[in-house]
Symmetry: C2
Subunit: 201 residues, 2 copies
């Protein structure tokens, strides 16, 4: 015996969530069906809507349901600074740390030749076009302090160096091998202030 086919399918579907194994999926399915159907219905509707409507900002590629995101539209940001991050979560972590007032560019990943992820997949053609527009004096390469993040930063530095912008990288206040998203705000903030000139060689 198991649960009914539809309940089993619900448990199976919940396992797309990160960190959710069979036992947790069962607990979640039972909670939704036994105790919070309204919440479950709302989750289903919002999830469907988000997947349909949330795309990439045309300018910075962060996740947004608008053509251009609120941060790109804001008149109160410094147009001469551009911070390149791997993910929207990294962007949010930097914003929450405070102190940075420039713009962003979101890669949604890093270069990974073995997985077939090349420069266009992470928007580097679009990034270069944006630098070519002019007006940006410094690009902060805030990719993760991991092997792949470093390699991606070096690739971008080589690509952008003909454009004569200053390149910098976060100071190593951030722990090696870690992910920006999980760094506390104080450390991130200090790393921003202590950012170093970056040579892409």
């Amino acid at each position: 015996m198991s649960f009914s086919p539809l309940v089993e399918r619900l448990m199976e579907s919940l396992r797309v969530l990160p960190g959710v194994g069979p036992k947790t999926a069962q607990r979640m399915a039972m909670h939704l069906l036994e105790r919070d159907r309204d919440g479950g219905r709302r989750l289903a509707a919002v999830l469907e809507q988000a997947i349909d409507q949330v795309g990439y900002c045309r300018r910075c590629r962060t996740l947004t349901e608008e053509e251009v995101c609120a941060l790109c539209t804001s008149a109160r940001r410094d147009d001469s600074l551009l911070c390149v991050v791997e993910s929207p979560a990294d962007q949010l972590a930097i914003e929450e740390a405070g102190g940075y007032r420039g713009r962003y560019f979101v890669l949604h990943g890093h270069l990974s030749p073995l997985d077939g992820i090349g420069p266009e997949d992470i928007g580097l053609d679009q990034l270069e076009a944006r630098i070519a527009e002019g007006g940006i004096s410094e690009v902060i390469l805030a990719t993760n302090p991991t092997v792949e993040g470093e390699a991606t930063a070096h690739y971008i530095a080589a690509q952008l160096s003909p454009h004569g912008v200053t390149l910098s990288r976060l100071a190593y206040g951030v722990p090696m091998g870690g992910e920006l998203e999980y760094v506390d705000g104080g450390t991130l903030s200090r790393a921003f202030n202590g950012r170093l000139p970056f040579r892409g060689d």
Copy 2:
């Protein structure tokens, strides 16, 4: 700054899931939007369908999208035994332990006067009607070995005693204060075999 309104709403909606705090909700939302939109779309569809279609079996009250569940329909179960459990998860745990071949009745909770949960809310009128039909010789009160589960078992025993059925309760192989759902199959199976006569006073 935060994520876009729709992404924020998605994170908020994910928090209906048990054990999901703000950080986990963010990780889940990012995973679905950045890496598994197909899985997310499937989850939304199945969740909506399950909430719309899964109700209680007319006979045993377990969760099912059918009028009467597969176990109630099965010709291979012993009609003379009825096992009363608090939840579909408890029912599944007993089935997975193996050995029991009778029918079930699912309360979806226990008596809890302070929360306004009385006998009708856990289907006790329906349970008594089923016993009154005749054909059941023994009712196994497999409510959780908690204070509320014990109180509910005593209430049911008092209610059913005029009907002259044998009442039993799982042997205390199950740990006091625990929940059946999390008991290993071997312990559950032994507790079933060692079940004791139950007096509801």
